[in-house]
């Protein structure tokens, strides 16, 4: 009845991405950036992209806090999208991300895996202001207050509205 993970999800290639992530850090020439939480656990992923005028993702960096799955997935995704066009990245669907990850995940862990993918999809449409560009695309460090985001008057997110 239940689709439990038949195989161990912490396979060697995943642990390697976790322990030695690809492009974890700051993108020196970032043109786009986005950040999001997994509301179920408080994890977050911050992504910075350098997209050139031809619409090609030249560089992709991530930072964040989270479990092995979310961090390894982010690392794999950065590798994957560099050199791709915005259109190609757009067409990289949730299923593709799960396939790239390569290990079967239960629904709750899929959310961990898909967090960086969601952030990248948003980042494609989140150009930085000129003033943000000089190396300071606002980034949170673990446990730091996301002071700008929450507000006492709840403001429903509108980005999902069709």
């Amino acid at each position: 009845m239940f689709s439990g993970p038949e195989e161990e999800i912490y396979q060697e290639h995943i642990l390697e991405h976790y322990e030695d992530p690809y492009h974890r850090g700051h993108c020196p020439r970032a043109t786009h950036a986005h950040e999001e939480d997994n509301p179920l656990c408080g994890d977050f992923i911050h992504v910075e992209l350098h997209i050139d005028p031809q619409g090609v993702v030249r560089e992709a960096y991530f930072d964040g806090e989270g479990c092995c799955i979310s961090q390894a997935a982010a690392s794999m995704l950065m590798e994957q999208i560099e050199g791709k066009t915005v259109q190609e990245v757009e067409q990289f669907r949730a299923e593709d991300m799960l396939r790239l990850f390569g290990v079967r995940l239960t629904p709750n862990r899929q959310k961990c895996c898909l967090l960086s993918w969601k952030v990248v999809q948003q980042a494609l449409y989140s150009p930085l202001q000129q003033k943000d560009r000089d190396g300071s695309a606002a980034r949170r460090s673990p446990g730091q207050d996301a002071s700008s985001a929450p507000s006492p008057a709840p403001e429903p997110p509108t980005k999902d509205a069709p």
Binding site: F2, S3, G4, D37, P39, L40, C41, G42, T106, P107, N108, R109, D145, A146, S147, A149, P150, S151, P152, A153, P154, E155, P156, P157, T158, D160, A161, P162
Partner: protein
């Protein structure tokens, strides 16, 4: 919805699935349960689902990554998808689990209503509404100043839809109407009401508590914005209900209850709500009940809606036929062909409570009172009525037992 893989409805067969229908009342009368508009009984499949979830898969949902929590979450979310399919909703995210119709409507009134209505705005209701679709709007009116207007009932138990265009105006923000009256069984023409509401630029909320258990529901065909109903009136567990809301609307609505699970981020300074449907499901939901509701849906879908409706019509016709012969008894509302399986009636000189009490002495369970529809009763000049309401497990024999017992009531009170 396809009816290809359904089995024919055989009430005697169905009754085998309902343990409670085999009990005796007052130690000698077989139970004749005709209080289905208030709540329905559960088949053993639903009861068994409650036992099985509790004995094998129970944990809190969503926030855990251990096996039980994964299993609970999977069962809970698959119940959501079952409801989605059952209603033909476009997205599972449009299905919000609540405690029942009442909470569903209050959610809309507090979330959508507080944010979108004010003085000069109007909400259009009908004179036949259940208190669950009246009081939340009275409360909203007191908070925001929105005005309530009412489509009146005609003498024949139908809505006076000639008033519809007159009552609608650009000020109308919402039309909130029952798909089936819980007293008269009246089934207003939803398509016409939705169309008129759309022309006036108003949203539409359908109180489908009495509809969903008995007739096929297609929220996309209805083109409704909100649809509310309860699990316990459709063979499901008590303590769970549904609010369907159109995605674009839900996504723009602020949260209702605040707490765990409905947030994206909380600080001491404020919070950011989660996406739908989580945004509207604060706290631990009625997990086991929602899973049981999914099983109730599976159970109902064994049968075709045509069969269910035909069966209920047969019983309703028989009830009308038999009850109309009882001196002093008057049935409220439309003819059987124009309503659901609900028969409410009054005796000229016997109070509804006394009727229900004496019927119970014969094992017949009906409801007596205002059925949470005081304005409707006032409209017809009666304080209380007696109501028999049918479901797929009722039989013609039971309708005969009702009629015979009623005749004894009449004789007892020397009418």
């Amino acid at each position: 919805m396809t009816t290809a893989d359904t089995v024919p409805l055989d009430p005697q067969q169905v009754r085998q699935d309902f343990p409670i229908l085999h009990r005796l009342v007052h130690e000698k009368f077989p139970l004749v349960y005709l209080d289905n508009a208030a709540t329905t009984q559960r088949p053993r499949q639903v009861i068994q689902s409650i036992v099985q979830t509790s004995e094998q898969h129970y944990a809190n949902v969503h926030r855990g990554i251990h096996t039980l929590s994964e299993q609970s979450t999977e069962l809970y979310e698959s119940a959501r998808r079952k409801v989605q399919q059952f209603l033909n909703a476009a997205w599972p995210e449009e299905i919000i689990f609540t405690r029942g119709t009442t909470e569903s409507i209050n959610l809309v009134a507090r979330s959508w209503g507080d944010a979108n209505t004010g003085p000069g705005d109007e909400i259009l209701l009908t004179e036949m509404e259940h208190h669950a679709n009246l009081v939340p709007w009275h409360q909203l009116a007191a908070r925001t100043g929105v005005q309530l207007r009412f489509i009146p009932l005609r003498d024949d138990g139908q809505l006076d839809l000639e008033q519809l265009e007159r009552l609608l105006s650009p000020r109308t923000r919402l039309v909130a109407v029952s798909a089936m009256s819980n007293v008269l069984g009246t089934v207003p023409p939803l398509e016409r009401i939705v169309q008129a509401a759309r022309s006036a630029g108003a949203l539409v909320l359908v109180d489908a508590a009495q509809w969903v258990p008995h007739r096929p529901t297609d929220v996309q065909a209805w083109d409704a914005d909100f649809v509310a109903f309860s699990g316990h009136k459709m063979l499901g567990p008590s303590g769970v209900g549904v609010l369907y809301g159109r995605r674009e609307l839900l996504e723009r609505m602020p949260p209702f209850l605040g707490g765990g699970g409905m947030i994206r981020r909380v600080t001491l300074q404020g919070f950011e709500p989660a996406e739908i449907p989580a945004r509207f499901e604060a706290g631990t939901p009625p997990i086991v009940a929602a899973i049981g509701l999914g099983v109730a849906i599976d159970y109902l879908r064994q049968f075709s809606w045509e069969d269910i409706q035909a069966h209920e019509l047969r019983l309703t016709r028989l009830a009308h036929e038999l009850l109309e012969q009882i001196p002093g008894l008057r049935i409220l509302g439309p003819a059987p062909e124009n309503k659901g399986g609900i028969v409410s009636f009054v005796f000229r000189r016997i109070h509804a409570h006394d009727v229900a009490y004496l019927l119970d002495r014969h094992g017949v369970a009906v409801r007596a009172g205002h059925h949470c529809a005081m304005p409707l009763h006032k409209r017809y000049g009666v304080g209380a009525s007696t109501r028999a309401s049918f479901y797929l497990y009722n039989t013609e024999e039971e309708v005969h037992r009702l009629a015979e017992a009623l005749d004894q009531v009449r004789q007892f009170f020397r009418q």
